[in-house]
């Protein structure tokens, strides 16, 4: 049977200077940002902050310079990302473009698409969303029904995308649409200009915490020109598979609740003594191990390998770690969470208690992910 390969990978010494630079930048930029806002990390959106990051050269770090990238190593990128997340920087605006859509265009996009889009993304000025889920297709992408019908010079799109994170702020959507009836080979990816296309309605969906990260995006005879097709017609299914693998192992897979861990430790410090030491020690052990696993995948990516299964392992373990954090905090401290008031700890607990259930849904449910891992183990 196949087992997973997690080779140890330590960050090169050279990354230390970069880390110090990022920390200094964040200390300045986040000085006045409330903790409960920081707790949103990669869900928090701040275009001004994104532009500043772009100016620093911290978006599109690994991309070729010809597309506005910086040709830095996977480790440099890792250091920037983990510092941003650990500090709770509002990286949400450019996040999807940097992590997922940019690489997609580099892999499958046309030269025209790359030239048009990537430099703007790298400057922190152009934001993306992903149009995959639909009302009747959550985990089951083959059930996608939004149709892109061939017309003169392009496609006419009709249908509804659901749960589209950040669509209200995004300039572009990478949309997965049906171009023919075949379950898998009937799907195609398109680059949709959300700001300049008629027939697109974006409705924010209020979530249980009162925020609106999700959207419903309705297409009514929206026209997408031929040159905005990404990759080749009918290969959307395969391209999406590759795309999802990108998003499974980064530091965002275990740091989404990190700020709560920090505040929890602060509360315990106030109580003095060794109260909660054992539980804190366990959390630290899991944190450090997850970081090593995530770094290991970064190391393989840097060597051009394809650690898709290892990335799934990181995502699964990371989501459990992140999701358990509010429960652990509750069990340790017993302090009631609040919203719209209360102490930093109470508010951060309130935000994350309500948010963590989504961590095992985003990018495919836990059950789907574990099924992928099981197949990787040789179970059929």
């Amino acid at each position: 049977m196949q087992t997973f390969r997690f080779d140890l990978c330590e960050l090169p010494e050279e990354t230390k200077g970069l880390r110090a630079e990022v920390r200094a930048f964040l200390a300045e930029e986040l000085r006045h940002v409330p903790l409960v806002t920081r707790a949103q990390t990669w869900s928090g959106s701040d275009p001004e902050f994104s532009r500043k990051m772009g100016a620093k050269g911290w978006i599109g770090m690994r991309w070729p310079k010809q597309y506005g990238g910086h040709e830095r190593s996977a480790f440099d990128r890792y250091v920037v990302l983990e510092e941003m997340l650990a500090a709770g920087a509002p990286v949400g605006a450019h996040w999807i473009g940097d992590r997922q859509s940019g690489p997609l265009l580099l892999n499958f996009g046309t030269e025209e698409q790359r030239q048009l889009i990537l430099p703007k993304v790298a400057r922190g000025e152009c934001y993306f969303c992903i149009g995959m889920s639909e009302p009747d297709s959550g985990s089951d992408l083959a059930a996608t029904r939004t149709k892109a019908e061939k017309v003169e010079g392009g496609y006419r799109v009709n249908g509804t995308k659901l749960w589209t994170s950040g669509a209200q702020h995004a300039h572009y959507m990478i949309g997965l649409f049906r171009t023919s009836a075949d379950k898998h080979t009937g799907l195609t990816q398109f680059l949709v200009d959300l700001k300049n296309t008629d027939g697109i309605t974006i409705r924010p969906i209020r979530d249980l915490a009162g925020n609106s990260h999700f959207n419903e995006v309705v297409f009514q005879d929206a026209f997408v020109p031929d040159n905005m097709l990404v990759g080749s017609e009918g290969s959307g299914w395969a391209q999406v598979g590759a795309e999802l693998a990108f998003e499974r192992s980064g530091p965002e897979r275990y740091l989404s609740s990190f700020l709560l861990m920090v505040e929890m430790i602060r509360e315990l410090q106030k109580r003095g003594g060794a109260e909660g030491a054992r539980e804190v020690g366990r959390l630290v052990a899991h944190l450090v191990t997850l970081r090593q696993m995530s770094l290991s995948v970064a190391g393989m990516l840097d060597k051009g390998e394809n650690p898709a299964l290892e990335a799934s392992v990181v995502k699964d373990l990371g989501a459990v770690f992140e999701q358990d954090m509010p429960v652990k905090a509750h069990e340790l401290l017993g302090i009631a969470p609040t919203i719209g008031g209360g102490s930093d700890y109470e508010e951060v607990l309130g935000y994350l208690t309500q948010t963590v259930p989504s961590f095992s849904l985003r990018g495919g449910t836990r059950e789907i992910l574990r099924g992928i891992i099981a197949r990787g183990l040789g179970l059929r």
């Binding site: 659901l162 209020r206 309130g350």
Partner: protein, 345 residues
């Protein structure tokens, strides 16, 4: 359930079905007091279910109140019914007349001098909507039951995750009614934990019903998700957790009826709150996992119950706090006394 409880269950369920809609809850979360619902609860006698008949109450038992509070928990009824019932219980015990209006309960750091109350109570349920609040204060005379008008209290608004009002009330030499009830000094916390456990049993019951229904309706990969073994296994776990809390809370309620001093029911109440807290963490996680993205929207009602569970598990003492107490008591009695103690109650 005895016959009387079956009738009570039918009546409270019908009342809540009629008057607690998703809109009622949403409006309450936005700050609108659900007057019609509250009025109906008052008129049906539900708010005074534990007030002695001599004081125009129903003179019922905690086992009866269990039926009402569980239904209220299942419905996410956005009103201080549990608090009013508990206030009525404490006032009845102390022989203090029950005022009209909304009466809540509070825990705080109070002093009582010459019939005047000073101090601060945090996270008082529906403090802003209440006309009065009941608390207990240790004075030179023992533990006194105190009924305070909120007319002269300073109110600072706050809310829990379910957007239920949890306000800070400050009193500065406010004249109050007092009486003796033979209740322990922590009776608000104790019986408060009992009411929350029962409400949580109701909310958990809602979660399992709602989740099974959704799993049978929602189709993925060409079949209802309830046909997938992974979902079935999780729903089985959710159902066992809900069942455990139901009986733990019922057991505590029955015990509260049997004893005259609140302390004597502390063991069973602690068991119920600990069990409810443990179950909530598992159950909310499963319910959301089964519902997927839809359960994460404000539009869908799932979160009315899950947000309440996330708040209630910490109110009137978290599971951890009550487990600490249970554990210390157990350790103090010693290993060989555990079984005789559990079976001798």
């Amino acid at each position: 359930m005895n016959e009387m409880q079956t009738l009570l269950n039918d009546s409270i369920t019908k009342l809540l079905d009629d008057l607690v809609t998703a809109d009622t809850i949403r409006q309450a979360e936005d700050g609108t007091w659900p007057a019609a619902l509250w009025e109906a609860l008052v008129e049906s006698g539900m708010t005074r279910i534990l007030v002695p008949e001599a004081q125009e109450g129903a003179g019922a038992t905690w086992e009866d109140a269990y039926v009402v509070l569980k239904a209220a928990g299942a419905a996410s009824a956005p009103v201080p019914l549990a608090e009013a019932i508990l206030a009525g219980f404490m006032l009845g015990r102390a022989g203090i007349a029950i005022p009209d209006g909304v009466v809540t309960v509070m825990e705080g750091d109070f002093t009582l001098e010459n019939g005047r109350l000073s101090g601060v109570a945090r996270a008082v349920p529906w403090g802003r909507n209440a006309s009065h609040a009941v608390t207990l204060v240790e004075s030179g005379w023992g533990v006194e039951t105190v009924l305070a008008s909120l007319q002269y209290a300073r109110i600072e608004k706050g809310q829990n995750l379910a957007r239920e009002p949890r306000d800070t009330l400050s009193f500065d030499h406010v004249v109050v009614d007092t009486g003796w009830a033979g209740l322990p000094g922590n009776a608000v916390r104790l019986y408060g934990a009992l009411t929350r456990s029962v409400q949580m049993a109701g909310a958990l019951d809602y979660l399992i019903r709602q989740s099974v229904q959704y799993a049978n309706e929602r189709t993925q990969f060409g079949k209802p998700i309830g046909k997938f073994q992974a979902i079935q296994q999780q729903l089985a776990v959710l159902s066992t957790q809900a069942a455990a809390v139901g009986i733990a809370a019922a057991h505590a309620s029955a015990r509260a009826d049997k004893v005259t001093s609140g302390d004597a029911a502390a063991f069973e109440i602690a068991v119920a709150k600990v069990r409810a807290d443990d179950a909530s963490s598992i159950a909310t996680s499963i319910a959301h996992q089964v519902h997927g993205a839809i359960g994460f929207t404000y539009e869908h009602g799932l979160h009315f119950a899950t947000r309440r569970l996330w708040s209630w598990r910490a109110e009137f003492g978290s599971g951890a706090e009550w487990a600490d107490w249970l554990g210390r008591e157990t350790l103090a009695r010693g290993a060989d006394e555990l079984w005789p103690y559990v079976t001798g109650r």
